[in-house]
Structures are given as C-alpha cells and as structure tokens.
C-alpha cells in the first residue's frame, strides 16, 4: 500500500533570487522516482494552506539517498517550504505522475527549459548525458547551470535581458539547433507560451516533443479531476486529461494549445 511519506530535510538553501534548492532524504524514493515526476507536499499547518503543493523532482543524489527539489517562492505554500530547516520533516505524497518517456536508443535529444521549468529537466539531462543538448532560458539571473553542465557537455543559456549567454528567447536557440542537427526527441518544461512555441517549432521540423505541463491541483493523485488540460483525441474531439495522473508529461501533438 502507498502512504504519505515523512521526509527529512537535509538542506534547503537559496540558489538564486527567490529560488531554493531543497534536499530531502529517502533512499527508496531516490531509486524509484523518474525524471518528470513530482511530489505533492503539505506546505504548512493543518488547515492553512489547505492543499498540498506539487513540486517536481529536479535530480537525485543516489550516493546520499537524496532527492533534490528546486522551487521558486511564489505564495504561502512555497514561502512555508522556504522556512524549513535541516532536520525538519515534510509530509510528501509521491512520486506522482507519469514522467518523461525515456527511450535509451535516442542518439540525440534536445532538452529545453524556461525559468523554474529548467528544474524538472536536470535528472533527464543526466540520463542522456552528452547525447543531450540542453537549452536553458532565463529572464535575467541564471541558476542550475553547473548542475546541467555536470550532466551534459552541451549546455546553452539564453537570458531575456542579454546579461548572460544568448540575448533573447531560448526557443530561438532551439529553432536554430533543430535546423542544423537531426534530433530524436525534444523534452520541454516551462511557461505555457514557451511550450507552445517549442511545440510549434518541433511540429514544423518534424521532431517528436514531450512537454511537462502545470495546472492547479487538489488531490495530485487523479481522484478529483481538478487538474485537467485539454487534449485532442484521434477523432478530432477535445478531451480533458489529468495533469497529475495522465501527465504531467504529454506529447506536444496531443495538447490542445489554444484552450
């Protein structure tokens, strides 16, 4: 039987303005969790905030039996998270969701993250290693670059304000890359407009694409139908799928981008 896990905080420290790295101890979890999966965390007391908050796996530290979550402080829930200290414990459900479909035969993949959406891609980058070109888009301040570079030799950063790397959207870099380099699959996570552009670029360049979506969640396990996203069915009709259970990773073609 599954059960809510009580995980110990090993470390919880800021890695950029308003962005924290949270290391939680759990040996078995660390073996089990897949890139793209998330945890559903009780962020606070009994009744307030009431609902859990979904945070993706960023990467595992198998030698320590630890999972690392990277999160941006956004509101009450993540504020609470940021106040946790080593030794404190957290009530966690998961790993939840489907994760990225990993095909180890792929010779070349592109991994594209925007903002905090870079975080859920780090473990994946580790799987493909030098077979992955990693594109990391930031508004201004960069983070997780070291972690990505440790996993892949080909990490390319873009900042919207031009303060580091390419000045402009990360999707520009991807477009350029796909034109030059045969690629088996693109994996993307980030804000919806960015994902939409990635999906379009992939479609136009006939490359497969998997995107990790976000939606407001209640249960996180598939029971409430609260986290739906619209997908196109084969018969042309529109259907709602559960981001928490059927996703959060979807094939870009099935996502209904105009909803």
């Amino acid at each position: 039987m599954k059960e809510p896990k009580v995980l110990q905080v090993i470390e919880n420290k800021p890695i950029a303005a308003g962005i924290y790295s949270l290391e939680l101890y759990h040996h078995a979890l660390c073996e089990e969790v897949l890139p793209g999966q998330f945890f559903h965390i009780k962020c606070g007391g009994d009744k307030f905030p009431l609902l859990r908050r979904p945070i993706s796996l960023s990467y595992t530290k198998r030698e320590k039996g630890a999972v690392v979550l990277i999160y941006r402080v956004q509101g009450q829930g993540t504020e609470f998270l940021s106040s946790r200290r080593p030794g404190d414990s957290l009530d966690v459900l998961g790993p939840l969701g489907s994760g990225f479909e990993v095909n180890r035969q792929y010779e070349r993949v592109a991994i594209v993250g925007g903002g905090i959406g870079i975080a859920p891609l780090v473990e994946l980058a580790g799987i493909y290693g030098d077979r992955a070109a990693v594109f990391a888009g930031y508004r201004d301040e960069t983070f997780l670059l070291k972690e990505l570079q440790e996993r892949s030799a080909d990490v390319r950063a873009a900042t919207e304000d031009g303060s580091f790397g390419y000045g402009g959207f990360v999707t520009d870099l991807l477009l350029q890359y796909l034109k030059e380099q045969r690629t088996d699959m693109v994996f993307a996570c980030g804000p919806k407009p960015m994902l939409k552009t990635v999906a379009k670029i992939c479609r136009e360049n006939s490359v497969g694409c998997q995107v990790s979506l976000e939606e407001r969640m209640a249960c996180g396990v598939g029971a409430c139908l609260g986290c739906s996203c619209a997908v196109n069915e084969r018969d042309g009709s529109l259907q709602y799928k559960r981001v928490c259970k059927d996703g959060p990773v979807f094939r870009a073609e099935e996502v209904c981008w105009d909803e």
């Binding site: 059960e3 009431l50 859990r52 407001r216 209640a218 249960c219 396990v221 598939g222 409430c224 259907q239």
Partner: protein, 303 residues
C-alpha cells in the same frame, strides 16, 4: 478497542462504520484504493455520474481559498454505462460498499439511471440535485422543494435501491428542501454539497476558475454545514448524512452530535489520503472515552 458498535443503519443498508467518501473527491476508488483497503470504509460514494459521458468544464478547475477550495469540475465522468461495466465490478471485487451519485438534466434522466443502477450491485443511489434542470430553464433541482419532491418520488418509483437525496446549501430554507425529499420517499438526505463561490486574480483581472463560478468546500464551510445538519436532523425522520469540511475525527464527531447518522469525507482526501480511515479510528476512540457503546447512541447526543 472494538468494544463499541461502529455500524449504522442508513436507508435500510447496514454500514460497518459511519464514514463514507464524498462524491467527486474519491473518483471511483482506484487512486485512494492504493492507500488502504476500500472495504474499511462505511461506503464509497463514487464520482457523480450522468447518463452520457461528460467532458466537464474548461481549466483551471480548482483553486485554494482561505481554509477551503473551489472546484468547477463540471461533472466530468465516463457515464453510467461505463461505470456499470468497468468501475463497479472492480469496486465490488474489493469488497467496497458502493453508493452511486447521479445527476440528471431532467427527471427522466434520473429515472433512466436509477433503472440501470437498480439491476447492479450498488448499495444505494445518491441524487445530486445541484445540476441545472434543463426543462425548468436551468434552475437546479435542489433549489426548489417541489422539484426535489418530484424527482425523489419519480426516482423511487423507477427502482428498488435506497435513495439518498443530496441537498444543496445554496437555499434560503434547507429544512423545507429536506422535508420535500422525505415526503417524496427519500430514504436519507445527505448535506451539504458545495457553496456557490468565486475567486478573482487581481493581476490578470480574471476569475481564477475557467468556469467563473465554482463550489466551495473544505473547513471554511464546516460551520454552515453543521448548522444545516443540525436544522435538518431536527426536522426530518429519515437519517441524515453530514459532510462539509470534515478534516479529522473531531469534525466528524461534531456532525454526528449535530444529528448526522453518517458522515462523508471530501476535500480532506486531497490533504491526507488516509483521512477517512484515521477518522474511523478517531470516532471509535471518542466513543470509548465518552462511554458510548455504539455510534448510533451518539447521533444527535447534544446535551
């Protein structure tokens, strides 16, 4: 510990304990069935069913509010036939006592569903009357006593299963509605469904929910739910199933003391998947501590 009798008799069915799940918060038991055996529950009330499959409302469908949440799922479900064919057998295999929650756009739709469910292994049928009645110009069945009476009476005629009438709290006089349900032949009433509500994001200047309005549930509504259960239990002779904001055993006991013979756990499942089983244990501990020998003795036992 089991020196107390936890079973309750509701609408002619014997539940092994007074704790059920609230419709729409527990799917068809698949997800939370991974956390504990479903046969530990008094009953599993499944996601609201409609005659035909429904896609539901556009996202976002949920958001958090102070000590509560909104949902505008909009009755997304695979339809009653799919339920009978695929979901119910799975649930019954696991030994669950299953209550089907149904919503119709007309009295005929309710009846048709009742007919289908009558031939199945469900223990009872719960009528969700918060659905807009297309024939009555879109007003929800549950808001008018004469409609409540009518749909209850007709559904009772269409099948043999006990009927639980689920009441909407968005009414001026909940007692009047409950009496109509009883008069129509309802075997029990359950309350409350969600309070119609809304949230707004001031930066995008948009309603947070894709559907603008949604239903408020969770601890925030508990005081309203307790009041309504207390009013209704004092007015009708049929059993009352209480719900609305039950997070733990303390809340559940409050509802039973207010007059509910059973309780349903909704939003709490999202916070703590083990909530229903922990609540069962907590009620039992309370009974022992307070010297009750059965949960039925505690029903309405305000001093």
């Amino acid at each position: 510990m089991s020196s107390v009798d936890m079973s309750v008799n509701i609408a002619g069915i014997r539940l092994k304990n007074p704790v059920m799940t609230a419709s729409g918060t527990f799917g068809f038991g698949e997800e939370y069935g991974e956390y504990y055996d479903l046969n530990r529950l008094g009953a599993v009330v499944v996601k609201g069913l409609t005659l035909r499959p429904r896609k539901g409302n556009p996202p976002p469908r949920t958001c958090e509010t102070p000590a509560g949440m909104l949902n505008s799922v909009g009755l997304q479900n695979p339809g009653v036939d799919f339920f009978l064919e695929k979901e119910l057998p799975r649930l019954l295999d696991r030994g669950a006592c299953v209550i089907a929650n149904i919503s119709g756009a007309s009295v005929d739709e309710y009846c048709l569903m009742m007919e289908k469910l009558s031939k199945s292994g469900v223990a009872a049928v719960e009528l969700n009357l918060s659905c807009p009645n297309v024939k009555e110009g879109g007003i929800a069945f549950g808001l008018k006593p004469d409609l409540v009476y009518e749909v209850t009476r007709r559904v009772k005629e269409c099948g043999q299963k006990p009927v639980i009438v689920k009441l909407s709290p968005n009414v001026t006089d909940i007692v009047e509605i409950a009496l109509a349900a009883a008069e129509g032949g309802g075997d029990a009433v359950s309350l409350i469904n969600t309070l119609l509500a809304m949230d707004i994001d001031v930066w995008s200047r948009r309603p947070v929910l894709g559907n603008t309005y949604g239903g408020l549930s969770g601890p925030a509504v508990k005081p309203v739910a307790l009041r309504m259960v207390h009013q209704v239990a004092g007015a009708v002779d049929i059993p009352v199933i209480g719900m609305g904001g039950i997070l733990d055993w303390y809340d559940a006991v409050q509802f039973i003391l207010a007059g509910a013979k059973a309780v349903a756990v909704g939003t709490a499942n999202f916070v703590n998947p083990l909530a229903p089983v922990e609540i069962i244990e907590g009620i039992e501990r309370y009974l022992v501590k307070q010297g009750f020998t059965s949960v039925e003795d505690m029903v309405g036992a305000l001093v």
